[in-house]
């Protein structure tokens, strides 16, 4: 470590101005993140002009604080309203909203906050200690390896298909089809657009997530409201529980009981974050899927804090590692990293490997801000989460329309495109029909998210190997290893399922009255 540069970094960071901008960034981030449709990258883009006018440490504090706050903030509306603030928090809806309906919303939000901050801090420390190693490891993942990583993700997430395989497959098929709409990733020619130009860019993830998770639930609850008015009032009462003195918080023991899930989230998030093009949503779903697969006894997906801990630690653990390719090679690995890179350029610092020698004090300042940002996130997030969630304290009859309105605003806000609103409404109706038919929505969202990435990488691998499938699929030892791991997960899942069925039969035999 260059001691002089580190001292300069301390002087840059520990000023009232820098700390104030960091606090403002986290505050804005949590608020923006909790508004559906406004993601971390939108918030950073909005704040970029302001950052031009600040000193380098203040600018980094504002933008990184906003980034950290926004990734956590998305979970607040996911838990309170079943409307993920950003796609990163979609996996949090499963357990979070169920806990809110059980009157344990406060516990759910605190679990999200503590697991987010824990994972974020741990991954930041990993980044600071071994950023170059992670970056070099990420370079080993070419199209072949990334395609197998996607296959591993799908096999790990297979457990989210629910009890009925056929219904899970149908849901996955719908997601696969929706994921193919838009420009072909290789030839750029429109496909499956039914001649509609507005479908050329494909279906955007934000309206899909809001439609499938939030609007479908609200249509369902709206119908219940019409049938018997007590149901939404019950949810409203549960939201009110967030503030009541009797509402259930999170004990230290419960927090510690999530250490395995947070460990999974830290591992998955740190690595996925360092790989360009995957992002926090993939990390959250992968972490959630692994935890659900490994710990069936924790009843993840049925209103478990362990599910929230897995998903939220998975997405927040990507925050620091997203900057690894930027710091190690000058490559922005995500839209948010690109915006932070743009802020550095505007401050006269070109992100490149030379940064470590030319501007070491800025790198150390960035590391310090990454760590400090987590403490600000903890304090501000805790206060802000409950203030924001007060928006849920509306009369029962108003709750459902308010969330529907939020869903419409969120779908529009993401890109400012009115067609996204129609898309969200259509998908909301589709989600509603699926819920009524008992078809799980998770496989749809997962295949929609992962299948295009898998296709892109498969086609790139085929292009690089000139159409040779053997080379494209098994051209490297790492690729073969990942393929073997995917096969292992499939066999393990099969064995566990068979084991559970046998155990279930045995259990039923025991319970049967003896003659």
């Amino acid at each position: 470590m260059q001691i002089e540069a580190f001292h300069d970094a301390l002087a840059l960071v520990f000023t009232v101005e820098t700390l104030a901008w960091l606090a403002i960034g986290v505050f804005l981030g949590v608020g923006l993140g909790a508004i559906p449709g406004l993601t971390a990258s939108t918030g950073i883009a909005l704040m970029l002009p302001l950052s031009f006018t600040l000193e380098i440490a203040g600018a980094l504090g504002l933008l990184i604080g906003l980034y950290k706050g926004a990734v956590f903030g998305g979970s607040i509306s996911a838990i309170s309203f079943a409307t993920p603030g950003a796609p990163d928090s979609a996996a949090t809806v499963y357990d979070g909203y169920k806990l809110t309906k059980q009157g344990k919303g406060r516990k759910a939000i605190l679990t999200a906050l503590y697991s987010s901050v824990t994972a974020d801090t741990a991954s930041d420390i990993v980044v600071i200690l071994v950023a170059p190693t992670i970056a070099l490891l990420a370079l080993q993942f070419g199209p072949t390896e990334r395609l197998w990583l996607m296959v591993v993700a799908i096999t790990l997430l297979g457990t989210l298909s629910g009890r009925h395989l056929a219904k899970g497959m149908l849901s996955a098929g719908i997601g696969l089809f929706l994921g193919t709409i838009g420009a072909d990733p290789v030839s750029n020619v429109a496909r499956n657009t039914f001649g509609q130009d507005w479908l050329r860019d494909g279906i955007h993830l934000v309206p899909l997530v809001i439609g499938i998770f939030a609007m479908s639930q609200m249509l369902d609850q709206g119908l219940e409201l019409l049938r018997r008015k007590r149901v939404p009032e019950r949810v409203q009462e549960r939201l009110a529980d967030l503030f009541g003195k009797k509402s259930e918080g999170l004990t230290f023991r419960e927090y510690l009981s999530c250490w395995r899930e947070m460990g999974i989230g830290i591992g998955v998030g740190t690595f996925v974050g360092a790989l360009p093009g995957l992002g926090a949503t993939v990390a959250a779903f992968m972490s959630y899927g692994i935890a659900k697969q490994l710990f069936p006894q924790k009843r993840i997906g049925e209103g478990s804090i362990h599910g929230i801990a897995a998903a939220e630690s998975g997405n927040n653990a990507t925050v620091g590692p997203t900057l690894v390719p930027l710091l190690a090679f000058g490559i922005p690995g995500s839209a948010t990293a690109a915006l932070i890179g743009a802020a550095l350029i505007l401050q006269g610092i070109t992100p490149s490997p030379r940064m470590f020698t030319l501007h070491a004090e800025v790198i150390y300042a960035l590391f310090l801000i990454l760590i400090l940002g987590n403490f600000f996130n903890l304090g501000i997030g805790r206060a802000f989460a409950f203030v924001y969630a007060r928006l849920g304290q509306v009369p029962g009859e108003v709750l459902v329309p308010v969330i529907m309105l939020m869903a419409v605003i969120g779908a529009f806000a993401a890109r400012g495109d009115a067609s996204d609103v129609y898309m969200m409404l259509g998908l909301g109706f589709l989600g509603f029909l699926m819920r009524r038919a008992g078809i799980p929505e998770a496989p749809l969202v997962i295949t929609f998210l992962i299948a295009p990435l898998l296709e892109e990488n498969l086609r790139r691998a085929l292009l690089i190997n000139r159409g040779d499938w053997g080379g494209a699929l098994f051209g490297s030892a790492l690729g073969i290893g990942l393929a073997g791991f995917a096969l292992f997960v499939i066999l393990l899942t099969f064995k566990l399922n068979v084991g559970r069925r046998i155990a279930g039969i045995g259990h039923a035999e025991e319970e049967r009255p003896k003659r």
Partner: protein, 313 residues
């Protein structure tokens, strides 16, 4: 009689309205349409331009409007659906042109715009590992001996395909959704060449590669060219280069005097030292081409792209 009265009133109204509008132009708000969402590079630069250069537009306000969608064609259709009165400006990149040229039944032709200038232009620079391809000649020789993989976004691959085709060679073009992914694959040795913008090339050269060729028709800024080791340009080998401009245009039916007035104001703004300094600080220096130069380059670019797109498919 009644019809005559109405006609006379309309004629009077028009005779009042048209000269007054021509005299006052511009007044009120000029809508600066970009075909991309908020937060991207085009959005950032458009807002920077609106903030820094508004004073050159005769008191009119520059209002940046985002009309994303349909491969950046939605914004184009929006401009064509607005009144051709000089109050709607279209600021785009080659992205909508690539979309339109890729479609069999495109909703609009790339010629349906009146080009009024270029604000900036980026180049497709081919970055290679020096030990594999020390210079252009060795690269072409290798292309003729074995398949070489070149990765980049679609626009940047077009620049590469354009010069490689003129060199009488062929390559395997691997499209990527983002530059980050293609550069990672280049650094990891999964592809042989990365087609990148000059600003991305600056992050790779000299530690991890050399700039083999600037495939653009427009020279790089001197300091960038020096930092990249002064790579040869397409024209140094007798090839027609392909630049990727941030072009500015208007509805083709806009009255000529308004287009001329706008082009003059745009030139004054884009050559203002304060504005150019702000863009340079933003990492994308202004590379201004006036109306005549830009229109000629745009026509050549569309024709070149029409051929190059076939090479990628």
């Amino acid at each position: 009689m009644k019809t005559l009265k109405v006609t006379a009133l309309v004629a009077a109204a028009l005779s009042w309205a048209v000269p007054a509008a021509a005299d006052d132009y511009p007044s009120g708000t000029i809508n600066w349409v970009i075909p991309f969402g908020a937060g991207g590079g085009s959005d950032r630069l458009s807002r920077l331009f609106a903030a820094e250069a508004e004073r050159h537009f005769g008191g009119a306000r520059l209002n940046v409007e985002n009309h994303p969608g349909a491969g950046a064609v939605t914004g184009w259709l929006h401009v064509l659906n607005q009144p051709a009165d000089g109050y709607t400006v279209f600021n785009a990149t080659p992205t909508p042109i690539i979309t339109l040229l890729s479609e069999e039944d495109a909703p609009v032709d790339p010629s349906q715009i009146e080009i009024l200038g270029y604000l900036a232009a980026f180049a497709s620079v081919l970055v290679v590992r020096e030990d594999e391809f020390p210079d252009w000649d060795s690269f072409v020789a290798a292309l003729q001996e074995r398949p070489i993989t070149i990765g980049g976004t679609n626009a940047l691959l077009l620049g590469a395909a354009n010069v490689i085709d003129q060199a009488g060679a062929d390559a395997i073009y691997v499209p990527y959704a983002s530059t980050g992914e293609s550069v990672t694959d280049f650094l990891g040795g999964h592809i042989d060449v990365a087609a990148v913008t000059e600003s991305t090339a600056l992050t790779i050269v000299p530690e991890n590669g050399i700039a083999l060729i600037n495939t653009s028709s427009i020279a790089l800024p001197e300091d960038v060219d020096d930092a990249l080791g002064n790579p040869p340009m397409a024209r140094d080998f007798g090839f027609t280069g392909l630049a990727f401009p941030r072009w500015v245009g208007m509805h083709p039916d806009t009255p000529e005097e308004r287009m001329a007035a706008f082009a003059a104001m745009f030139e004054a703004a884009a050559t203002d030292p304060e504005v150019t300094a702000a863009f340079a600080a933003g990492g994308e220096p202004i590379i201004f081409l006036n109306r005549e130069e830009a229109a000629a380059d745009y026509e050549a670019m569309v024709n070149t792209m029409r051929n190059a797109i076939g090479l990628l498919q």
